[in-house]
Amino acid sequence: MYKKKEFEKRYLLIIVIVAIAVLLVVLSIALKKDRDLNPVEKLVKDSGTFVINVVSAPVNFIKDKIREGREKNDIYEKYKELKSKEEQMDSVVAANDNLKEEVSKLKKTLDLNTILSDKVYKNATVINRNIDYWYDEVTIDKGKTDGIEKNMAVVNNDGLIGKVSTVSNHVSSVKLLANENMSDKISVKIKVNDSYVYGLISKYSAKNNTYTVEGISENVDIPKGADVVTTGMGDIFPSGLLVGHVSKVTTDNFDLSKVALVKASVDFDNIDYVSVLKRKDS
């Protein structure tokens, strides 16, 4: 009798250990970053988001009206700002046309089909947000049927906000750069006079809305307020997307390279409309 009990206990222990191991395997598969959604997940996500979207429509309507009201208050200030910019507009357009022509000529001369900054846009609206610390993501109302694909860069008016992490048929999730647990380093360049110095975004701090850019050459003096843009290296982000502006420069622990704190150009608390960018196919 005693032996039988011992035997059962041993079996129970083995079953528990195996169950925990299976659970961990399932979880590690479930949490895999490059996992694609299966058809059932897509169906539930699409229909669930649709329902949430319909139910929250009145709240979103009120939110939009409040924002409109606030914008109307600043309308005269904005008019003055735009008026001053309008005077420079003609020369900017002319310079832009000239640059476009030069780029196209150079592409022909060098027999290039695409360059790092070539991109096409797809506009989308943010319909949901998961601000949980581990998952900082937003859901947008465009999916596979609209041509959205995984890992496409996502921007708003102020600059780069993140990349598409999962795609369903009618909605997609965007992993924000405002993620303190950033695991993918992003290659950026900082404009110093007429040239660029290169670095990698390694961290984000939600407290100050700043990125930490590491690996910058020690011999360069970086001015405060310098523009930081993507380099286009890697498969995801096209070149020239504004990331932020340098707010402070220090050196790393070993005095071997410089570390820049970059104030994000995007206000991550206020993301309503975004554009998904796709690199132009060659």
């Binding site: 659970l23 961990l24 399932v26 979880l27 590690s28 598969i29 479930a30 949490l31 970053k33 959604l37 997940e41 539930v44 996500k45 669930g48 988001t49 329902v51 949430i52 139910v55 929250s56 709240v59 979103n60 939110k63 943010v126 949901n128 947000r129 998961n130 601000i131 949980d132 610390y133 581990w134 998952y135 900082d136 993501e137 992490s165 999962t166 999730s173 405002a178 303190e180 647990n181 695991s183 939600a206 407290k207 991550f268 608390d269």
Partner: protein, 163 residues
């Protein structure tokens, strides 16, 4: 009652997240909180309650986090904690708030532990503490409010719940 509370909390989670800032002290976990509220309506049928917890977690995963079962298991564990807490604490206004605090702390620690084991986050205790105190205020207020509302509704419409 159970369905109404869970579904409305689920949707409120989404609406609220559109309004609050990243560094906010009002991070919503309303779906999780709704489980504390609905427990007495199962009148001691723990198995059914745990099943509902698991299903809610699975839907939470599908809509909000794009993972498959992680919240299914997490909510199941929280459901188990709620059943145990209800054995010790009577179901009243104050105790529901205490349960909410315990559940938030438990949820954050276990979620962090799972993500740590599966190598999805780097080790940072401060991050866990931050996630806990950033979620306490809004959720404790929410659970207290919903408790009062559901209590009044169940009295009015004579919907029985266990104490």
């Amino acid at each position: 009652m159970v369905l109404i509370v869970i579904i409305s909390s689920f949707i409120l989670d989404s609406i609220m997240s559109n309004f609050i800032s990243l560094n906010s002290y009002f991070t919503p976990l309303f779906t999780l909180m709704s489980l504390i509220i609905v427990y007495p309506y199962f009148k001691g049928n723990q198995l059914r309650f745990l099943g509902v917890c698991f299903l809610t977690g699975v839907f939470y995963d599908l809509i909000y986090t794009d993972t498959i079962v992680i919240h299914g298991f997490l909510f199941l564990m929280i459901g188990f904690v709620i059943t145990k807490l209800n054995l010790i604490l009577a179901n009243n206004y104050l105790n529901v708030m205490i349960m909410a605090v315990i559940c938030i702390i438990f949820y954050r620690f276990v979620a962090y532990g799972l993500l740590l084991i599966t190598a999805n986050v780097s080790f940072n205790w401060l991050a866990v503490l931050k996630s806990i105190y950033h979620s306490l205020i809004a959720n404790v207020i929410f659970v207290a409010l919903v408790y009062v509302i559901t209590d009044k509704i169940s009295l009015k419409f004579k919907i029985h719940k266990s104490n």
